[in-house]
Amino acid sequence: MAPVPLVVSAHIAVDTPRNNEVRHDGIHDAFVVLLEINDIVFIFLLCEISAEYHGTDGVMSCLPCLDHLSRDDYADVYEPSEDTFLFIDALDKELTRIADAKPTRILEMGPGSGCISVHLLQQLQKRAVQCLPSCLLIDINPKAVTAALKTAACNGVGQHFDGLQGDLFRAIRPRQTFDMMLFNPPYVPSPAEEMCEGGIAAAWAGGVDGREVIDRFIQQAPDHLADGGCIYLLSERRNKPEEIRQLFKQKGFCSEEVLHRRAQNELLNVTRFWRVGWGESACDVNS
């Protein structure tokens, strides 16, 4: 008898314990294929992992559609990972605050695939925010700029995005332009050679303590931040987050951790920084 494949399609929700917490990991589309050859039944389970997942605050969150990026693209552009997801969850948690602040201009530094700022614009759009901000993407990797702009276009917010290839703020006039900055930096401690490799290495190689790019960002960013604006920055335990907060403090900034999460050997956090005298009055810069 010729083998006859039998295909059973299913839609299953999977709970996976992760980071010691039970977390809905999304809806998965699954196909079970039964193939009988010589009285032996082979069972194949084919899963398509959906991008949908539940954020930590229980609100259903959703990654922007990335169908325009292929496996090959991810050889040159950072693929969304645990740090990206944490950043997105942090912005979801802050969404009311962000919507109330009515930012006009947002900067995402090092956007990679563009997931983070595109997600934010989509969420603001869902909230029916009248005046969606204009978002500038700066990446040292031209393929990342192209990919991120495509992500914006494919997700219906392309008209709010512009991108350029640059080294942090080097080509930008210091004019306190941006009301909000988002930066998921290259934070992995790495040898100096990797810092110079360019391409995909620029997405993660952070030099000594993973801090080289972060420290340059802290030196430059305040000159470009509008009064009342804020910065969301991700860092990892090995970056010494307390030192990062001190560096910002020396620049006259307050800080507050939005979210942290353990992901394998990394302890990631997203922290919000804002200038003293703007926003929360409880902040004491001399403490």
Partner: protein, 129 residues
């Protein structure tokens, strides 16, 4: 690249100061469009918020160089900020005009920064940093 973004860009060679605004030179030797106008939603409130963030002199100069019509006036008053026609003209210039192919030339040292597929490359060589 919108003129909104162009309004922020400067020459960043260590040997050069005051390279602003960068002169836009469109690439006319190609089959595809070097410049496009893509109409986007006009939001007066957004433009009002944007005004103080713009370098007006640079924007006016650039709009003149690109022969944008009607472009923007050389200056604006408090009254203008409430005038929808004025706000619409600003919107048309900063949000809808896209530079796709060409180069940005420093008015000071003539360093050229290429623009390809709407993305300017502002990176420098090692001896310029």
């Amino acid at each position: 690249m919108r003129l909104l973004t162009h309004n922020l860009l400067m020459c960043n060679r260590k040997q050069c100061t005051g390279g602003f605004p960068l002169r836009i030179v469109l690439d006319t030797d190609i089959d595809k469009d070097a410049q496009s106008v893509e109409e986007s939603e006009f939001r007066p409130e957004f433009i009002q918020h944007l005004l103080p963030k713009l370098d007006w002199e640079a924007l006016y100069k650039t709009a003149q160089e690109l022969n944008l019509s009607p472009g923007v006036p050389p200056s604006y008053s408090e009254e203008d900020k409430k005038d929808e026609n004025f706000l619409r003209a600003v919107h048309d210039v900063v949000m809808d005009v896209h530079i796709l192919e060409g180069k940005l030339v420093c008015p000071n040292c003539n360093r050229e920064y290429p623009v390809s597929k709407g993305i300017p490359n502002m990176l420098l060589t090692n001896d310029e940093v």
